[in-house]
């Protein structure tokens, strides 16, 4: 009997190798957060309060990186597989549907951890960031959990955007959302109106979780007071995942009945 574990392992291995070899994906999703962190986090870490900057941006560029690999790794690949026949070939095979989706989720998690590991090494060695083992562990957990809502969003986007414009559309969502959630610079530097809107972005909630895990004071971040319960942020992210997944499933069924 073909064991479920074997299928699952093979599916994930192939998906990971495929994205790792696609330089347009691996260079961009790993390269951009690393480059930004070097330019803005490490270069600015040597003055007064520099360690705080490096610590803050370690948390937020980790979020920036994981959102990128989750959105691109899932929506761009799936949008093209769905519309150009490959997904149909896999659906016609006895492949279990969950193996296909879990492989994409685990692949995004693997890339997210790679990005986190690189940023963490840079922050510790060049940025003078000091973290306890527990803090690193909590940050890594937040990375793994944080991939889920953005992988769900990637799945939803894959259902609605045509494959040849997938990269462009994802960037139009990814980049403004990152900016408006304070991933590039603290929210307190943005106009008050935009600060008030920040809690509508999933990146805002994950950024706060990651900042708390990294031991970065939230007063540096700005944003709304009184919403600092980690649990509440996770509940928000979980609800976001459920809603996007449900929408993706509805659209997938509707498309399948139409083609």
């Amino acid at each position: 009997m073909a064991s479920a574990a074997t299928i699952f392992g093979m599916e994930t291995k192939v998906e990971f190798l495929r994205l790792a070899r696609a330089k347009s994906f691996s260079l961009a999703t790993i390269g951009f957060p690393v480059m930004f962190y070097l330019l803005f986090g490490i270069v600015n870490s040597h003055g007064a309060g520099g360690e705080q900057v490096a610590r803050y941006l370690l948390a937020t560029y980790t979020v920036f990186g994981l959102v990128g690999c989750s959105l691109f790794g899932i929506s761009v690949t799936l949008a093209s597989e769905r519309t150009l026949g490959w997904l149909e070939l896999k659906q016609a095979s006895p492949m279990p549907a969950w193996a296909y989706l879990c492989a994409k989720l685990l692949t995004a998690m693997a890339f997210a951890l790679i990005i986190f590991a690189i940023l963490l090494t840079l922050g510790r060695t060049m940025g003078g960031v000091v973290l306890t083992g527990t803090q690193v562990f909590h940050m890594a957990l937040a990375v793994l959990g944080g991939v889920v809502p953005f992988a769900s969003l990637g799945l939803l986007l894959a259902m609605i955007i045509p494959p040849n414009s997938a990269t462009g559309v994802v960037n139009l969502i990814y980049l403004p959302m990152s900016f408006l959630s304070g991933l590039w610079m603290p929210l307190k530097n943005l106009p008050t109106g935009l600060q008030k809107l920040a809690p509508m972005w999933p990146t805002y909630h994950l950024a706060r979780v990651e900042l708390v895990a990294a031991g970065s004071p939230l007063k540096n971040y700005g944003g709304l007071p009184g919403s600092d319960s980690i649990l509440m942020h996770w509940i928000w992210l979980a609800a976001f995942s459920v809603v996007t997944l449900a929408l993706a499933a509805v659209i997938f069924r509707r498309n399948a009945a139409k083609v």
């Binding site: 192939v14 490959w86 095979s93 006895p94 399948a256």
Partner: protein
């Protein structure tokens, strides 16, 4: 019934206002190669997708080995080569074959797949670096991974060179000899003619003809005589048994139900007759006649 591999029974498939298939019944018996022929948009791919369980019929039933094609047990016995306009570029043929083999409880051995699909030498190349025909061979290999009892080949030899095409044909014949059932859709009439035990012609969602290649060709009566002659077309048309006569680029083409009699008389009346050819109707003629628009018929 024991010898039925797959069937569509009274299937109608609608997409909104558009009717893709209209009350189609089709049976594939075990151990036969059936070719589904028809112009683009006739409903061939819809029929294949219904049998693969990728679509749910609006009305009617699709069954494979007596069960729903959607359940895992049925899928384990099927293999499919569909038209994929883009395969993931950065994966090696070997990796996909190993992956697809992992789906099945008793897969065909890796070496056998490589040999049968003609993948030697390209196993370790990324799919993005392969030619269109080579990619088709990889897809053919993937369809064989489960050593299936029923295999669907949707335009299998598209983009292949002649050598590769003949290799696929040999493989299809081997499958039939091993008791497997093959459903083939193709634009290459020669392919259907040389491979199929049975041809099903489909037009605008309806089956318009069904039979052996010989029976289908029988739908176009008579044989064609081509030659250069001084006999006029108008005169030839008046001869008994001649159903059609025409001249293109100085070559006269006569269609007749009794080629020998007409030929004897032509040779007798025109000693200078040259460039003679006599041909049986090709499947293509039958196909064109069957799939022509109703107004033309």
């Amino acid at each position: 019934m024991q010898d039925v591999a797959a069937e569509l029974a009274g299937v109608t498939q609608r997409y909104g206002q558009h009717v893709a298939l209209r009350d189609v019944s089709l049976t594939l018996r075990r151990g036969e190669v059936v070719a589904l022929l028809g112009p683009n948009g006739a409903g061939k791919t819809t029929a294949v997708k219904l049998l693969l369980g990728l679509l749910q019929p609006t009305t009617g039933v699709a069954k494979v080995f007596g069960a729903s094609p959607k359940i895992a047990q049925t899928r384990m016995r099927m293999g499919a080569m569909l038209q994929v306009s883009k395969v993931p570029d950065t994966v090696k043929a070997r990796e996909y074959i190993d992956l697809f083999r992992s789906y099945y409880p008793k897969p065909m051995s890796y070496e056998e797949i490589v040999q049968r699909a003609g993948l030697k030498g390209i196993e370790n190349k990324l799919l993005g670096s392969l030619s269109g025909g080579q990619r088709q061979r990889v897809l053919f290999g993937l369809a064989m991974c489960g050593d299936p009892d029923l295999i669907f080949l949707d335009e299998p030899t598209l983009g292949m060179d002649i050598e590769a095409r003949h290799a696929v044909w040999a493989e299809v014949r081997r499958m039939r000899d091993a008791g497997k059932t093959v459903l083939l859709t193709t634009h290459y009439l020669e392919e259907a003619d040389s491979l199929a035990d049975r041809i099903v012609v489909i037009r605008t969602g309806e089956i318009v003809a069904e039979g052996t290649p010989r029976e289908i060709k029988g739908n176009v009566a008579g044989r064609k005589i081509k030659c250069m002659t001084r006999l006029s077309v108008a005169e030839l048309k008046r001869w008994p048994t001649v159903t059609e006569a025409a001249m293109h680029d100085a070559v006269t083409v006569v269609t007749t139900l009794a080629a020998e009699d007409v030929l004897r008389r032509m040779l007798a009346e025109d000693a200078g007759l040259s460039g003679l050819e006599v041909s049986s109707p090709a499947l293509e003629d039958a196909f064109l006649a069957l799939t022509a628009e109703k107004e033309v018929l």
